[in-house]
Every structure is written in C-alpha cells, then in structure tokens.
C-alpha cells in the first residue's frame, strides 16, 4: 500500500511551504527517521522524516517549489514497483515544457535544465547514480557530434519525446517506466551509444567449480551453494590483475580509465525485478568475506530492501541464467563497465558448460577477454600478478 508524505504545517499563519531540499529520489529505500524533505516558510524551517519503511515511488515537484499545506509531496510504497494512487500524467501531451511530475523523478534541477536546453528526454541519458545529474547529461552530450555552429547535433537515435509518440504505429496507452525499467533502459542506452560491445564465449568443465563450491560449503556448513559467488569473486581478482576494470572516455579527448577498486555487480532476479547488487572493493575481500557480503545483498535484493548505494557503481559484472536452464546468453554492459560475464547452465550430463563475456572493445581485445575467461573457468589456476 502506498503512503503519502504531505507538506507539513510549519506555523499557524502560513498555508503554504517551500521545499528547500528533497533528500530522496525515486527508487530509494527509507527507514523511519530518514530525512525526506526540508521545507520552510518565511518564519521557520523544518525537516520531514519518514515515519515508516518504504520505497520512494514518486517525488512531486522539485526543490524551490511551493506546496499547499497537506499536499502530497512524496509517495512511499511497500514495494518499489507499487502503483502510485494518483493519475498518471499523459505523456502523449505535446507540451513538454509544462510540469510533468513523472519526468521529474530522480532528475536534479541542473540536469533538468540541461535536458531542456538539448531537447533530450531524461530516459535516454544513462545515469551513474540513482539520480540523473548534470554530469550525466554533460557526459552524454559530450558524446554527440558538435555542429559547425558550435552547437550540439542530436544523433538520429536520440529523439525528442513528442517525436517518439508520433512514431508509434498504432494508438497506444502510455505510462512512465518503473524504477527498475528505467535502470534497464539506462543500461541498454549506454551500451548502444557509448560502448563498443563485443561478445565471445568458451566451453569449460563446470564440475571443477561445482566440486570447489561444494568443498567450500561443506567446510563452513553453508546453507547456500557458494559456487557462483566464488566465481564472481575470482572475476573481481582477475579484473584487478589484468586491467579489465575500467572504461574509455572519448570526450574531450580519448582517455583510458582504470578504476582503483573493483565493484563487482551481480544480477539478482527478484520476481519481476532485476537488480544488480554491487560488492564494493571486491578485490580486497577474501572468499569468505565476499560470499558473506554477496549473500547479504542477495537476501536484501530478493526482499526488495536493497539500498540505492548497494545497486550502483559496478565496474565489472557477473550474471547467471543457469537456474532457468539457459545455456548461453549475451548480457548488456552496465554503464561504464568493461565487461559482464555470462554464466549458463551445464549440459552433456553436467560435464560441459559455456562461459561468455560481453566486453567493451574500446578497452579490451578479444585476446584479453578469452584469457580472462580461461582463467575464470578454472579455480585452480594462479591469478596473474597485477598489471603495473
């Protein structure tokens, strides 16, 4: 059930308040006591805190807006995908300059201004964090071709919102994307517009890993099979050692980026929501520490209680579709990631399986990717010394 956070009465003489700070974004999870808003009148200012657990479903308006006392400013829900109990804005309306609360979700004021200046829809710009910032928009725009007049030319694939609705082949109902869907859109858009995504795969003997995982679990009396977590941990060590932990920035001049830590992203399907849990500084953890940390994140994700900071900032990724019997799949690169490893189900009586990797060819060659997969496929092989 959704819960409203109302504009509070600050003093008896003022029937309106001004929002001076919005401390949450759509998709955030808040606990009782967490700051949601700061509002003020000419006489006083107060903080509005969450009174109960909840996922932020909708933030109406922006910092600087004035609300009547009692107006709903934020909607919280028990789950991140809960419907907001108020009318969905008509996105087919041609006036994109008007107030559109759905488009305001998780977009900073500066970013909104830049989007307007460049005629971009917020959905097409990849975001590094939970909110779309001016830096995200600038990075996206920097990847576009400058015109002779010094302006910015849009790519053909980047369309203004009204043009997209005009292109629909049949009458349709429109609704804003949910937070998880927006994250997926940001991922595929980043890969489409920025990465040089390539894919390759190798076959390997999964029994070695299965036995390794079983030994690990047996010795520690673990309830959960740690095999995938151990593979992901090894991937983090390999990424740190081989330089497969970075990205390429093309503007203003091409630069290779090498991250100073490995943040291992691991996909978790929680019913209909796909999360990318992120184990920060994964290369500094020992196997026990990594398995425990990832297990904790998986549990929180499955309960839809993942904090926003625990689902962003991945530098490399690992995903498995083995539980669905999928033998091979081609993952999409998360923004600013060098690679995403794809684990599939075993076949041929459990004796064979495929490990694949989508990688950014601007950073890694096919040789680099194969070498990494071969080292990943066998837990007994030594990890090379870190690249200087």
């Amino acid at each position: 059930m959704a819960h409203a956070v109302h504009a509070p009465r600050v003093n008896n003489n003022d029937d309106t308040v001004t929002v001076v700070r919005i401390a949450v974004a759509v998709g955030d999870f808040v606990r009782p006591g967490d700051l949601i808003l700061e509002v003020e009148t000419e006489k006083a200012a107060i903080a509005v805190e969450a009174e109960q657990d909840g996922h932020v479903l909708l933030v109406r308006g922006r910092e600087g807006d004035t609300f009547a006392v009692g107006d709903v400013v934020v909607w919280l829900g028990d789950t991140p995908d809960e419907a907001v109990p108020e009318p969905v804005p008509d996105l087919s309306a041609p006036d994109i300059g008007g107030r559109d609360f759905a488009a305001d979700e998780g977009v900073t004021g500066k970013a909104r201004l830049l989007l307007s200046q460049h005629g971009l829809a917020a959905e097409v710009v990849p975001r590094l964090g939970s909110r779309l910032t001016a830096a995200d928009v600038q990075a996206y725009v920097a990847g576009l071709a400058p015109t002779a007049q010094g302006g910015i030319a849009q790519r053909e694939s980047v369309q203004r919102a009204p043009a997209q609705t005009e292109a629909l082949p049949a009458p349709a109902d429109l609704a804003p994307l949910r937070s998880g869907e927006r994250a997926v859109l940001a991922t595929v858009t980043w890969q489409r517009d920025h990465a040089a995504a390539a894919f390759l795969e190798i076959e390997y003997d999964p029994r070695v890993w299965r036995e390794h995982g079983a030994d690990f679990a047996r010795g520690r009396r673990l309830l959960l099979d740690p095999t995938l977590a151990l593979m992901a941990h090894r991937l983090a060590l390999l990424a740190a050692a081989t330089g497969a932990n970075g990205t390429v920035l093309e503007q203003p001049s091409p630069r290779r980026v090498r991250y100073r830590q490995v943040n291992l992203g691991f996909t978790v399907q929680a019913r209909e929501t796909l999360y990318l849990c992120v184990v920060e500084r994964a290369e500094t953890l020992d196997p026990e520490g990594f398995v425990a940390r990832l297990g904790e994140l998986q549990r929180r994700a499955m309960a839809h209680r993942l904090a926003p900071a625990e689902a962003r900032g991945a530098t490399v990724g690992f995903t498995s579709m083995a539980r669905w019997g999928v033998l091979r799949h081609v993952p999409i690169l998360p923004p600013y990631c060098a690679l995403m490893v794809a684990h599939g189900d075993a076949f041929d009586g459990g004796a064979r399986a495929v490990l694949g990797v989508t990688y950014d060819h601007r950073l890694l060659s096919g040789f680099d990717a194969v070498r990494l997969l071969r080292l990943l496929a066998d837990p007994a092989r030594d990890i090379p010394n870190p690249r200087l």
Binding site: L223, L224, R323
Partner: protein, 94 residues
C-alpha cells in the same frame, strides 16, 4: 496462539512446494530430515526466497550467521528454529 511443530512443518512444505514448482520441480518427497540443498528441488536463489518467506511469515529476524545447514538445512531444523525463536520472543515479552 503459537503454531505447533506439526503445523509449522505443513506450512513450510507448502512454501517449499511453491518455490520448487516455479523451477518445474516437485518437493513432495522431501522428508523432514532431508537436507534441502542436497535435494536439488530449489537452487541457491530459490533457497534465499524460501528463507525470506519463512522469515517474514514467522517474524524471525534471520541473520547472516543463521544461514547454515545446521540451523536451516532441513524442514525439521527450520521448524525447530521457528519454535526456538518464538519461545525466546515470548519469554522476552514477559
């Protein structure tokens, strides 16, 4: 009134069967003392879902250190875990 061990086991079986069915598996033959991960009716992700369902149903507050085969590995051990937590909570409540 708190559920009996037998009632808890019945409820646990229903929850496990639901998760197993999602993966196309049948958990009806699992005995009270069978180690669930060894039965291969649910995978690790399914087991996490199972633990979350149990945790939410009985309000157990399961922590990472509880995630062991000894505590939560069989239908019977889970039922004992639930009863122990309920007894502890009722003592605390006075």
């Amino acid at each position: 009134m708190l559920a009996t061990r037998s009632e808890i086991i019945t409820e646990l079986r229903v929850m496990l069967a639901e998760l197993a069915a999602q993966l196309g598996n049948d958990s009806s033959a699992i005995a009270e003392t069978d180690v669930i991960p060894d039965c291969e009716v649910v995978d690790s992700a399914g087991l996490i879902e199972f633990v979350i369902m149990v945790d939410e149903k009985y309000q157990l507050g399961i922590e990472a250190e509880d995630m062991t085969v000894d505590q939560l590995g069989t239908i019977g051990s889970i039922a004992d875990f639930v009863l122990a937590r309920q007894r502890r909570d009722s003592v605390r409540a006075g």
